[in-house]
């Protein structure tokens, strides 16, 4: 049983927060409510506190945990993303985002966040096991791609696209029996990685999450196949490098393939040595909605692109197909004509990536 504050403490905290919603007492009060199982009350206190202290990392982490407990993983991920923006080395936020992306089969993003979490706390058992799961999935996808090429001669699918649950899979690789691997329970329970892979997965926050992996023998075969595919070249593709052909041209800064929720499907955008794709994607998704509304109001047909000039860059965002956008960025001062041509090439690369032909 977790010990929480005494009733008197709770009353004192509550009075302090009532007097001043921005008081630093809002966090222990929200945490106390959470421990008492009063999740909604905790949520209200936390949100009110954040209105006054939007840069409070601990509050964003608690909010993420509350959303997680309410089953709203998207919002939890939003809060972790905010926490990472405020504190780029925050272990809990990177771990949360790592598990979130792993669960969704977004292996590149999962890898990025889990590696950051592992750097912060190398001994954390949940992160170490999640990285093991991630590597097995990457190897499995590479092997699956190789099998597909061998069987059909068709180019492989994206190895980091969302992974279909083994129970519903049909390929030779997927048909192998599954073996459960336990992930150690962590202090702040990450999203249930296994929920889409095992019907017997425990409830959110319950003891050890179960993660499916191929049996040892199959994994070895797949690992060898994946290694062979890597040696042959061209089979293992990194979504972060989809727009790399554009990078040989001097003005190019970065490119992103985004969905309507602002999530990054592929590409990379770095400034000042930091990857900012997810951050940019979140806002660009909203800007695209505004663009569509503006075009509709003015009755000037569907929108084809937005060109933005800032002090440091020239950016272009264009709809690719339903619910997908391509962002292309170049250094400030780049001719607009070059930008528009680069945007067209970026759209072609994105389409090829989506079709598994990049």
């Amino acid at each position: 049983m977790t010990s929480g504050p005494a009733i008197a403490d709770l009353q004192r905290l509550s009075e302090e927060v009532a007097r001043d919603p921005g008081s630093s007492s809002f966090l222990p009060l929200a945490e106390a409510y959470r421990r008492m199982g009063k999740t909604q009350a905790a949520l209200r206190v936390c949100l009110r506190g954040l209105e006054r202290s939007p840069g409070h990392v601990g509050a964003h982490l608690l909010l993420a945990r509350l959303y997680l407990e309410l089953g709203d993983r998207e919002r939890a991920a939003d809060e972790w993303a905010v926490a990472v923006r405020l504190d780029p080395d925050n272990f809990d936020a990177h771990r949360g985002l790592g598990f979130f992306h792993l669960e969704r089969g977004e292996l590149s993003s999962a890898s990025r966040h889990l590696e950051r979490a592992a750097r912060a706390r190398p001994a954390d058992p949940a992160v170490r096991e999640a990285l093991n799961v991630l590597r097995r999935r990457q190897a499995r996808e590479a092997a699956r791609a190789k099998l597909r090429v061998a069987d059909t001669g068709v180019a492989p699918v994206d190895p980091v696209a969302p992974v279909a649950p083994p129970v519903a899979a049909t390929s030779a690789v997927d048909a192998a029996p599954a073996q459960d691997v336990a992930v150690a329970e962590s202090a702040a329970p990450p999203p249930d990685v296994a929920s889409r892979e095992s019907a017997a997965a425990p409830a959110q926050g319950a003891s050890p999450a179960q993660v499916v992996s191929p049996p040892q023998g199959a994994a070895q075969v797949q690992g060898a196949a994946a290694a062979e595919a890597r040696r042959a070249g061209g089979f293992e593709r990194d979504p972060a490098r989809v727009f790399e052909p554009l990078s040989v041209e001097a003005p190019y800064l970065g490119g992103l393939l985004l969905d309507s929720r602002g999530l990054v499907l592929a590409g990379s955008f770095r400034t000042d040595g930091m990857e900012r794709g997810e951050m940019l994607g979140a806002v660009i998704g909203a800007a695209a909605e505004e663009a569509a509304r503006t075009a509709a109001l003015l009755s000037i047909g569907p929108w084809r692109g937005i060109l933005m000039e800032t002090e440091r860059a020239l950016l272009h965002v264009a709809p690719l197909e339903q619910n997908l956008f391509v962002l292309t960025a170049a250094v400030h001062g780049t001719p607009v004509g070059w930008m528009l041509r680069a945007a067209e090439r970026a759209a072609k690369l994105a389409r090829a990536f989506l079709e598994g032909e990049a």
């Binding site: 900012r276 940019l280 929108w303």
Partner: protein, 115 residues
């Protein structure tokens, strides 16, 4: 509104292909001055373009790309050009085949006049 700004707005609206030109309060999303084409709702355009401006401004800030200078929305049948910075922005709505270079030039002049 000063004569300089009025003149800049007038020049903008006379560029071939320009349907409407406005000065908009980017924070409130309301029109400050306008030369509108027939059947155009200045209030609605001001609200939407200000919102679009704010979103892209936020994107630029979040990505450490500095201040947003201008944005241009391209559609099947036209363009919306937004230039300037808070509190006042210049908004131009133009036909698809309008001379965009000239519009951008005049929009920049209008922005200068607002400073």
């Amino acid at each position: 509104m000063s004569d300089v700004v009025s003149a800049a707005l007038s020049r903008l609206s006379q560029v071939p292909g320009v349907r409407s030109a406005m000065i908009v309060d980017a924070e409130a999303g309301v029109p400050v001055a306008s030369e509108l084409g027939a059947g155009v709702s200045g209030e609605a355009i001001a609200a939407l373009t200000a919102s679009l401006f704010q979103r892209t401004e936020q994107a630029a800030r979040d990505a450490a790309l500095g201040r947003l200078g201008s944005l241009q929305l391209e559609t099947d049948e036209g363009h919306v050009v937004v230039a300037g910075s808070r509190p006042l922005i210049v908004v131009v709505i133009a036909d698809r085949d309008a001379q965009l270079g000239l519009i951008r030039l005049e929009a920049d002049r209008a922005v200068e006049a607002l400073r």
